[in-house]
Amino acid sequence: MTVRVLLFASYADALGASEVALEMPAGALVRDVLARVQTLAAGKRIPDRPLVAVNQRYAREDQPVTASDEVAIIPPVAGG
Protein backbone atom coordinates (compact mmCIF):
# COMPACT_ATOMS: atom_id res chain seq x y z
CA MET A 1 0.00 0.00 0.00
CA THR A 2 1.06 3.60 -0.54
CA VAL A 3 1.05 5.80 2.56
CA ARG A 4 1.02 9.57 2.26
CA VAL A 5 3.25 11.30 4.82
CA LEU A 6 3.06 15.06 5.40
CA LEU A 7 6.11 17.06 6.48
CA PHE A 8 6.24 20.55 7.96
CA ALA A 9 8.64 23.36 8.80
CA SER A 10 12.21 22.17 9.51
CA TYR A 11 11.37 18.58 8.49
CA ALA A 12 9.99 19.70 5.12
CA ASP A 13 13.16 21.74 4.61
CA ALA A 14 15.32 18.75 5.57
CA LEU A 15 13.70 16.45 3.02
CA GLY A 16 13.04 19.14 0.43
CA ALA A 17 9.35 18.17 0.23
CA SER A 18 6.13 18.83 2.11
CA GLU A 19 4.82 15.36 1.35
CA VAL A 20 6.28 11.94 0.51
CA ALA A 21 4.52 8.78 -0.68
CA LEU A 22 5.95 5.59 0.86
CA GLU A 23 5.30 2.02 -0.27
CA MET A 24 4.56 0.03 2.89
CA PRO A 25 3.42 -3.55 3.55
CA ALA A 26 -0.18 -4.03 4.69
CA GLY A 27 -0.42 -3.93 8.47
CA ALA A 28 2.41 -1.44 8.85
CA LEU A 29 2.57 0.53 12.11
CA VAL A 30 3.54 4.15 12.69
CA ARG A 31 6.99 2.98 13.79
CA ASP A 32 7.46 1.14 10.46
CA VAL A 33 6.64 4.33 8.55
CA LEU A 34 9.19 6.23 10.65
CA ALA A 35 11.83 3.57 9.98
CA ARG A 36 11.16 3.91 6.25
CA VAL A 37 11.51 7.70 6.46
CA GLN A 38 14.97 7.20 7.99
CA THR A 39 16.04 5.36 4.79
CA LEU A 40 15.16 8.31 2.54
CA ALA A 41 17.88 10.63 1.28
CA ALA A 42 18.34 13.13 4.14
CA GLY A 43 15.93 11.06 6.26
CA LYS A 44 18.53 10.95 9.04
CA ARG A 45 18.02 14.69 9.46
CA ILE A 46 14.67 13.84 11.07
CA PRO A 47 14.80 12.42 14.63
CA ASP A 48 14.10 8.67 14.71
CA ARG A 49 11.23 9.08 17.21
CA PRO A 50 9.41 12.32 16.31
CA LEU A 51 5.83 13.17 17.15
CA VAL A 52 3.39 11.72 14.63
CA ALA A 53 -0.24 12.44 13.86
CA VAL A 54 -2.57 10.05 12.06
CA ASN A 55 -5.67 11.68 10.59
CA GLN A 56 -4.81 14.88 12.45
CA ARG A 57 -4.61 13.34 15.94
CA TYR A 58 -1.41 12.57 17.84
CA ALA A 59 -0.66 8.87 17.48
CA ARG A 60 1.41 6.26 19.27
CA GLU A 61 4.13 4.37 17.44
CA ASP A 62 2.27 1.05 17.66
CA GLN A 63 -0.79 2.46 15.89
CA PRO A 64 -1.58 0.69 12.57
CA VAL A 65 -1.60 2.74 9.37
CA THR A 66 -3.74 2.20 6.28
CA ALA A 67 -3.49 3.59 2.76
CA SER A 68 -6.36 6.01 3.39
CA ASP A 69 -4.73 7.52 6.50
CA GLU A 70 -3.14 10.96 6.51
CA VAL A 71 0.14 10.52 8.38
CA ALA A 72 2.06 13.62 9.47
CA ILE A 73 5.45 13.95 11.13
CA ILE A 74 5.25 16.82 13.59
CA PRO A 75 8.40 18.87 14.26
CA PRO A 76 8.81 20.37 17.74
CA VAL A 77 6.00 22.90 17.95
CA ALA A 78 6.41 26.64 18.51
CA GLY A 79 2.99 28.17 19.04
CA GLY A 80 2.03 30.75 21.63
Binding site: R31, Y58, A72, P76, A78, G79
Partner: protein
Protein backbone atom coordinates in the same frame (compact mmCIF):
# COMPACT_ATOMS: atom_id res chain seq x y z
CA UNK B 1 -16.52 28.76 23.63
CA UNK B 2 -14.80 29.60 20.35
CA UNK B 3 -11.33 28.96 18.99
CA UNK B 4 -9.73 29.92 15.69
CA UNK B 5 -6.50 30.03 13.73
CA UNK B 6 -6.45 33.50 12.14
CA UNK B 7 -4.34 35.00 9.33
CA UNK B 8 -5.06 38.68 10.13
CA UNK B 9 -4.16 40.92 13.10
CA UNK B 10 -5.85 39.86 16.35
CA UNK B 11 -8.12 42.19 18.32
CA UNK B 12 -7.88 41.39 22.07
CA UNK B 13 -10.73 43.78 22.99
CA UNK B 14 -13.12 41.95 20.68
CA UNK B 15 -12.39 38.71 22.56
CA UNK B 16 -13.05 40.45 25.89
CA UNK B 17 -16.46 41.52 24.63
CA UNK B 18 -17.17 38.02 23.41
CA UNK B 19 -16.78 36.37 26.84
CA UNK B 20 -18.59 39.11 28.79
CA UNK B 21 -21.60 37.71 30.70
CA UNK B 22 -23.31 38.96 33.86
CA UNK B 23 -22.78 35.57 35.51
CA UNK B 24 -19.02 36.18 35.52
CA UNK B 25 -17.09 38.11 38.15
CA UNK B 26 -13.62 37.79 36.61
CA UNK B 27 -12.17 37.95 33.13
CA UNK B 28 -8.54 37.12 32.34
CA UNK B 29 -7.11 38.29 29.03
CA UNK B 30 -3.77 36.85 27.94
CA UNK B 31 -1.99 38.36 24.95
CA UNK B 32 1.20 36.80 23.62
CA UNK B 33 3.28 39.19 21.51
CA UNK B 34 6.36 39.08 19.31
CA UNK B 35 9.38 39.98 21.44
CA UNK B 36 12.41 41.86 20.14
CA UNK B 37 14.98 39.57 21.77
CA UNK B 38 14.96 35.77 21.83
CA UNK B 39 17.85 33.71 23.13
CA UNK B 40 20.20 36.68 22.75
CA UNK B 41 19.20 37.33 19.13
CA UNK B 42 17.71 40.60 17.88
CA UNK B 43 14.44 39.56 16.25
CA UNK B 44 12.99 41.60 13.40
CA UNK B 45 9.84 39.56 12.78
CA UNK B 46 8.55 36.03 12.34
CA UNK B 47 6.35 33.71 10.30
CA UNK B 48 3.94 31.21 11.83
CA UNK B 49 2.88 28.22 9.77
CA UNK B 50 0.47 25.53 10.90
CA UNK B 51 -0.84 22.10 10.10
CA UNK B 52 -4.16 23.36 8.77
CA UNK B 53 -7.01 21.27 10.09
CA UNK B 54 -5.13 19.69 12.97
CA UNK B 55 -4.19 23.08 14.45
CA UNK B 56 -7.86 24.07 14.52
CA UNK B 57 -8.97 20.79 16.10
CA UNK B 58 -6.15 20.69 18.67
CA UNK B 59 -6.83 24.29 19.74
CA UNK B 60 -10.52 23.44 20.17
CA UNK B 61 -9.62 20.31 22.17
CA UNK B 62 -7.39 22.30 24.55
CA UNK B 63 -10.07 24.95 25.12
CA UNK B 64 -12.67 22.23 25.68
CA UNK B 65 -10.44 20.58 28.30
CA UNK B 66 -10.18 23.90 30.15
CA UNK B 67 -13.92 24.55 29.79
CA UNK B 68 -14.72 21.15 31.29
CA UNK B 69 -12.12 21.30 34.07
CA UNK B 70 -13.01 24.80 35.29
CA UNK B 71 -16.68 24.69 34.35
CA UNK B 72 -17.00 27.71 32.10
CA UNK B 73 -17.91 28.00 28.44
CA UNK B 74 -16.87 31.65 28.33
CA UNK B 75 -13.55 30.97 26.62
CA UNK B 76 -12.31 32.40 23.33
CA UNK B 77 -8.86 31.67 21.88
CA UNK B 78 -7.35 32.95 18.66
CA UNK B 79 -3.89 32.07 17.34
CA UNK B 80 -2.27 33.97 14.53
CA UNK B 81 -0.66 32.53 11.40
CA UNK B 82 1.43 34.25 8.71
CA UNK B 83 3.96 37.08 9.02
CA UNK B 84 4.10 39.11 12.24
CA UNK B 85 6.05 42.20 13.18
CA UNK B 86 7.54 43.07 16.59
CA UNK B 87 4.84 43.75 19.17
CA UNK B 88 2.05 42.09 17.22
CA UNK B 89 -0.20 39.63 19.06
CA UNK B 90 0.47 35.98 18.22
CA UNK B 91 -2.15 34.53 20.56
CA UNK B 92 -5.08 35.93 22.55
CA UNK B 93 -6.88 33.97 25.26
CA UNK B 94 -9.98 35.37 26.98
CA UNK B 95 -11.46 33.41 29.89
CA UNK B 96 -14.37 34.58 32.00
CA UNK B 97 -15.62 32.83 35.13
CA UNK B 98 -17.70 33.68 38.19
CA UNK B 99 -14.43 33.66 40.22
CA UNK B 100 -10.90 34.92 39.53
CA UNK B 101 -8.98 31.84 40.70
CA UNK B 102 -10.57 29.60 38.12
CA UNK B 103 -10.25 32.23 35.39
CA UNK B 104 -6.48 32.56 35.98
CA UNK B 105 -5.97 28.80 36.15
CA UNK B 106 -7.94 28.06 32.99
CA UNK B 107 -6.07 30.80 31.09
CA UNK B 108 -2.70 29.45 32.25
CA UNK B 109 -3.68 25.89 31.30
CA UNK B 110 -4.62 26.92 27.77
CA UNK B 111 -1.37 28.79 27.03
CA UNK B 112 0.85 26.08 28.55
CA UNK B 113 -0.93 23.28 26.68
CA UNK B 114 -0.96 25.02 23.33
CA UNK B 115 2.78 25.68 23.64
CA UNK B 116 3.25 21.92 23.96
CA UNK B 117 0.60 20.59 21.59
CA UNK B 118 -0.53 23.06 18.93
CA UNK B 119 0.99 22.04 15.55
CA UNK B 120 2.32 25.49 14.72
CA UNK B 121 5.87 26.38 13.72
CA UNK B 122 7.73 29.64 13.98
CA UNK B 123 10.47 30.94 11.72
CA UNK B 124 12.25 33.88 13.31
CA UNK B 125 13.89 36.56 11.21
CA UNK B 126 16.84 38.38 12.75
CA UNK B 127 18.08 41.93 12.41
CA UNK B 128 21.24 40.66 10.64
CA UNK B 129 19.18 39.04 7.87
CA UNK B 130 19.37 35.40 9.00
CA UNK B 131 16.28 33.32 9.82
CA UNK B 132 15.76 30.08 11.74
CA UNK B 133 13.06 27.65 12.85
CA UNK B 134 12.71 27.97 16.61
CA UNK B 135 11.16 25.64 19.16
CA UNK B 136 9.30 26.17 22.41
CA UNK B 137 11.40 25.29 25.47
CA UNK B 138 8.53 23.01 26.52
CA UNK B 139 9.37 20.71 23.60
CA UNK B 140 12.89 19.84 24.79
CA UNK B 141 14.72 20.55 21.53
CA UNK B 142 12.75 18.02 19.53
CA UNK B 143 13.92 15.06 21.58
CA UNK B 144 10.43 14.48 22.94
CA UNK B 145 9.11 10.99 23.53
CA UNK B 146 7.03 9.30 20.86
CA UNK B 147 3.27 9.63 21.06
CA UNK B 148 0.87 12.31 22.12
CA UNK B 149 2.18 15.00 24.46
CA UNK B 150 0.96 14.10 27.92
CA UNK B 151 -1.81 16.37 29.20
Amino acid sequence: MRTAMVDRPLDPCALLDEVAQHRNGATVLFVGTVREMNDGEAVSGLDYSSYAGMAESELATIAREAADRWATNDIVVEHRTGSLELGEASVVIAVAHPHRGEAYEASRYIIEELKKRLPVWKREHYADGRSEWVTNAEMGNGKSEMGAPRP
